[in-house]
């Protein structure tokens, strides 16, 4: 029943044509996933908002995404006159390619027979596979940053700026939320992390043996919760979709890619990225391709081609979570986003890693438990002391701030135009209707200047 699945030594023996079949299968799976994922999202979110959603093209509107794709392919490909042409063209490619690459290390299932070869249902695996996913995600940021910069539009550049800051900070939190998984699994390879979630231990209490759940989502729940937040931030989805926030930045980084297949590439990359982070959540925390509990009682559940079905079901549920969040939450403000990432997620993560490492050390047979516990007690007491000290200081600051705000309101009641809210400088030189040829040829156009 507990088929542990492939390990690292099972990889690298495939003939080339099997690897090609797997790569093409992953590509087709992702393309179809995007086509029907867009339809699913629009349908689901419509139902949550009491409307029908797309229902004209095909049965239940199933062909809506196909129609949209055809429309984009047939539209005129606009190239704004002043853009940096190479970078403007390169940006959609840079964002789409790494999105697909990351899926090469996602395990879909155990060893299966494929045309007379026994092969794992995974394109490839590395001893550092999870790092590969993080690295490809970090290359994808360039697409957004370059699209924002290369379009030479204030909205696009603001979107690019927001995105670079946001993705870099949420990537740190995301990487840290993997650390506890690495500590517990003792490996960075995706197939082995899934294998480690095959069987949980037992919890001996009062002579009873209670089996503990084996998925890391139960034993490492803080890591999973933090990951669930950072995966929304990393893919620029609501409530963290500030780089394209249509209410304030028109379309953000893809404002100037209003039509054509380049815009389709951005959409494609966004959805493939959503699938990638969902697949990582499934692999690292939700047992990978392993069957969930009631089904796993059936002996054949984790053998053959069945696990692909469990994996697909988990992926669909994770995608539905993204849609649910999009329907429920408003967009956060930019400073809230940064404060949340740096002041909440990263410190919480670091603290939890310390705790998880301590628990892991306590389980080692040769560990000095009393020493560790005494040291832990000192750390906890010192932490409490520091917190109390800063809490009183913070309390004083909060009161002072409240008084300040009250005073400002008092003043605004007298003269409403005083103060006001800061707005970004949207009147950049090249937006004053100045024709580029009329300007001095060597003049530099800077962002953020008036």
């Amino acid at each position: 029943m507990n088929n542990p699945g492939p390990t690292l030594s099972d990889f690298g023996h495939d003939p080339l044509w099997i690897s090609i079949i797997k790569a093409v299968a992953i590509f087709v799976f992702l393309m179809l996933g995007v086509l029907f994922g867009v339809w699913t999202e629009r349908k689901l979110i419509s139902r949550m908002q009491h409307r029908y959603g797309p229902n004209r093209a095909g049965k239940f509107g199933l062909l809506q995404s196909v129609a949209d794709g055809l429309k984009m392919g047939l539209k005129e490909d606009l190239m704004p006159r002043t853009v940096d042409k190479v970078i403007y063209f390169l940006a959609p490619v840079v964002i789409a390619v790494p999105a697909f690459l990351a899926f090469s290390v996602i395990p879909f299932g155990p060893m299966v027979w494929m045309f007379g070869h026994k092969t794992p249902l995974q394109l490839t695996d590395l001893p550092v596979a999870v790092l590969l996913v993080l690295a490809t995600a970090s290359i994808g940021v360039y697409g957004i940053v370059l699209a924002g910069w290369g379009s030479r539009s204030p909205y696009a550049i603001l979107g690019g700026l927001r995105s670079s800051a946001q993705v870099v900070s949420y990537e740190i939190a995301m990487g840290l939320s993997f650390v506890a998984v690495f500590l517990k699994a003792g490996t960075l390879s995706t197939s082995e992390i899934v294998a480690k979630q095959a069987g949980g231990g037992t919890w001996d209490i009062f002579g009873m043996h209670i089996p503990t759940p084996s998925w890391y989502v139960f034993s490492l729940i803080p890591s999973f919760l933090i990951y669930a937040v950072t995966m929304l931030g990393e893919t620029n989805r609501v409530p963290f979709d500030l780089p394209e926030g249509e209410g304030e930045l028109v379309g953000g980084f893809h404002t100037e890619y209003s039509s054509s297949l380049k815009f389709a590439m951005f959409m494609l990359a966004e959805y493939v990225n959503v699938f990638t982070v969902s697949a990582m959540a499934i692999t690292l925390f939700l047992g990978g391709w392993r069957a969930p509990w009631p089904i796993s009682l059936w002996d054949g559940a984790n053998t053959g081609w069945w696990p692909m079905l469990w994996f697909f079901a988990k992926l669909a549920l994770a995608f539905a979570f993204f849609v649910w969040v999009r329907a429920s939450l408003p967009r956060v403000r930019y400073d809230q986003l940064m404060a949340f990432g740096w002041k909440v997620l990263i410190p919480l993560n670091l603290g939890w890693i310390l705790l998880a490492a301590t628990l892991q050390a306590l389980r080692l047979p040769e560990s000095n438990r009393n020493g560790i516990l005494a040291f832990g007690a000192v750390v906890v007491i010192a932490g409490l002391g520091i917190w109390l000290r800063f809490d009183t200081v913070n309390q004083r600051r909060r009161e002072a701030r409240a008084a300040e705000v009250e005073e400002e309101f008092e003043q605004l009641r007298e003269e409403p135009a005083a103060g006001g809210f800061p707005v970004p400088p949207l009147d950049l030189p090249h937006y004053h209707g100045v024709v580029p040829s009329a300007r001095a040829p060597k003049e530099e156009v800077t962002s953020g200047s008036n």
């Binding site: 970078i87 800051a165 962002s447």
Partner: protein, 179 residues
């Protein structure tokens, strides 16, 4: 390290790939300092770091390679671009990118390169390490850093922490200096 080093000719496949990656790294590094377009310089730096990561991969140091991509390509250059875009984001050529002391800088760079190459060649000319896969995974690397090289590692951490504290102090305007 007692293995007999094989000769340099004929070059093996990995050696050719390594040399080509070195050429890419060197060429893109030259373009970083010679291009007249500020943002393109940052992008050539990405190519340079990517080629370095490829070099690590050829030497079977996969952990270092992916960390190189993750940190240098994914964070450091993005922060550079962020800084450029926040302060000025010129499209096209900038006239004022040349520095007056570029010849002195070139001289220092060449001298540094010469010293490094001499040290490496004279120190490791006969040393030969076989490229077995798995040497550069996380486990051997972690145990060598946190056992053999733990003191330099900790010293570096303290240095980075000091730099971090210094950056915060410099950037905060509400910290008063000594009167």
């Amino acid at each position: 390290m007692t293995l007999q080093a094989p000769g340099f000719w004929p070059p093996t496949g990995p050696e050719i790939v390594f040399l080509l990656l070195g050429v890419v790294a060197l060429g893109s590094a030259l373009l970083v300092v010679t291009t007249r377009q500020l943002v393109h310089a940052a992008l050539w730096l990405v190519v340079c770091f990517g080629a370095l990561a490829g070099g690590y991969l050829v030497l079977t140091a996969e952990f270092v390679a992916w960390v190189q991509v993750l940190i240098y390509v994914g964070a450091v250059v993005v922060l550079l671009l962020f800084g450029i875009m926040l302060t000025r984001a010129p499209i096209g050529r900038s006239a004022d990118l040349d520095s007056g002391n570029r010849w002195a800088a070139a001289l220092v760079a060449l001298a540094t390169a010469a010293v490094l190459v001499t040290v490496v060649v004279s120190g490791f000319r006969t040393a030969y390490a076989p490229l077995d896969p798995g040497q550069g995974a996380a486990k051997p690397l972690g145990s060598s850093i946190f056992r053999t090289w733990v003191l330099p590692f900790e010293a570096l951490s303290v240095l980075l922490l000091a730099a971090l504290v210094g950056a915060i102090v410099l950037s905060r305007t509400d910290i008063q200096g000594r009167k």
